[in-house]
């Protein structure tokens, strides 16, 4: 088990190095980072002076190592617009993004797992068809349209819920539904197919044959064995949720990292863009490492590899 954990940890570190390189490259895509960072009306001399001062004339490997050193210390430079360290701006907004993504995931798990199980147990009944249709629609519905339609119905027409900003629990409802629906749909379908597969296994028949009642068979014997693919998809869906927060936060004016990065891209505030992309990607890598550790608990076979 120790070697498994160490191997996964090493892979995570490698990936983080790759992530830092891609983030570094964002600024160097056009070949002239100085032109990107300075306002469009900067003179040629300004650009040249800035280029020397920032070390953009050094070989790219030197520049990358310098960037990496800064990144490891959490230093991505100052925001061009706010005059604060870019990292500070991002970290300040992380709790809002985590709250939203967490609410989305919680909603998805609370709805999807029971819905998937009931669908599988009551296969080919009205309940099953209903949940399948809802899941199919949920997977096909673009986040931004869902958000706008929810605002149209619940804020504009019914005036029940606020359409923007962060505050009490009411503010969280529409953004969490918007962000969580796709994940809900995906986990529902996966839980259903996973449960259907497990419920056909011999050990389930054995459990039933020896007189275990239906509830524990479904919720204990079957669910634990069906949960490995579900945990895998949760790891992947965390990425979907963090990415989806970019759109959802923009629609609902939710003061998180996603909205900050969209604004930074439009303001050409690249230090903030780099810090935000780096932090969100690193968060995803770390969370997936935790998910990998969760396997060793769910699937003891992994411990002996």
């Amino acid at each position: 088990m120790k070697s498994y954990v160490l191997r996964r940890l090493w892979q995570a570190v490698l990936v983080l190095f790759g992530v830092s390189f891609v983030v570094f490259m964002i600024l160097h895509l056009t070949g002239d980072p100085a032109a990107l960072l300075l306002p469009p009306d900067a003179t040629a001399e300004d650009v040249a002076r800035f280029r020397t001062a920032m070390g953009f004339d050094d070989p790219w490997i030197v520049q990358y190592l310098r960037f990496l050193k800064g990144a490891l210390q959490g230093n991505f430079g100052e925001s061009l617009r706010h005059g604060e360290p870019a990292m500070h701006l991002v970290v300040e907004r992380l709790p809002a993004t985590f709250q939203l993504a967490g609410a989305g995931l919680l909603l998805a798990l609370c709805l999807a797992i029971p819905a998937g199980i009931i669908s599988a147990v009551k296969r080919n009944t009205v309940i099953d068809y209903f949940s399948t249709v809802v899941a199919l629609l949920g997977q096909a519905m673009p986040t931004f349209w869902l958000g706008i339609m929810l605002i149209l119905v619940f804020s504009v027409r019914l005036n029940w819920l606020p359409s923007s900003g962060r505050g009490d629990l009411q503010h969280l409802v529409l953004p969490a539904i918007t962000l969580g629906l796709f994940t809900t749909a995906r986990i529902t379908r996966l839980t259903r197919s996973g449960m259907l597969e497990v419920l056909g296994q011999d050990y389930i028949r054995t459990a039933r044959a020896k007189g275990v009642s239906e509830q524990p068979v479904v919720w204990k014997h079957a669910l634990k064995n069906a949960s490995i693919p579900i945990v895998t998809i949760i790891g992947i869906e965390l990425g979907t949720l963090l990415g989806g927060s970019v759109i959802t936060e923009t629609i609902f004016a939710w003061p998180g990292v996603g909205r900050l990065s969209v604004q930074a891209i439009f303001n050409r505030d690249y230090p903030v863009v780099q810090a935000a992309v780096f932090i969100l990607a690193s968060t995803f890598v770390l969370l997936n490492f935790v998910v990998d550790l969760a396997y060793t608990w769910l699937d003891p076979r992994i411990r002996f590899r």
Binding site: L137, F144, G243, G258, I265, F284
Partner: protein, 304 residues
Amino acid sequence: MAPPNGTTAVALPVLPTAEERYWLTTLKRLARRRTALFGLAVVVIVLLAATFAPWLTPFDPLEQDINQRLKEPGWQNAAGQMHPLGTDHLGRDILARVIFGSRIALVVGLSAVLISGVLGMMIGLVAGYFGGKVDDFFMRLADIQLAFPFILLAIAVIGVLGANLRNIIIVIGVSSWVIYARVVRGEVLSIRERDFVQAAIALGSRDGRILVRHVLPNAFTPWLVVATLDMARVIVIESALSFLGLGVQPPTPTWGGMLADGRVYLSTAWWLATFPGLAILVTVLGINLLGDGLRDTLDPRLNV
């Protein structure tokens, strides 16, 4: 005319080749699934709408008419022409813009899927066939690619490079290869051990020939399923980029761009944001159902 060598010519019926038979059977089995058939119908309708867009509506999607601003669905103008889905804030016909918007969605969808599909297929073939260090390298590269929230990376890169059709296709295409590579690699790992590949190796075939002649045709089926399902994802990404203002620029009609316009008029004119969103929903649903059907017919064990 007498055939040469004095043999008699016999008219043989043209029998379908094994490959033709395979696809024919597949098509028949696909047609038996009602949901897949529905998906196929939607996809065909969207393709036809994009192709014949100018003949489907009397309105020009770019033509503004300030006197006909924000008219509700079913509105008739003075000339007696009806706007079935109403008009937008510049008096443009929404139905015309929805129909023309399908062109951008499909062009980006098809081109980006082609780029990422070919790229992923090549990486998957090489990684799976050679294994070892090569495989490790590409799989770590895949992990790195997947670590980024896709939409965030896309808007950051397009923000730097500039939002136009070419950049959007390239950015989505180049960064979507992972799923193809993983699926093709998985297939190659099992195909590599099969007798016909081992026989080809024993006969001294070169690697390139084995990959192209023996491995690739067998990895094509799962690739096709993935490509179909991924097309839906790409169309959503394209709309999201347009919605954020980083897609194909106005006045060209895009579904995402129409939604962004409609958002401003949400309290007065609900139809602006509703119809382009429905167009995305139905198109994506259709492609997903077709993809699910293809998977269940061709390769039920495929896990995508």
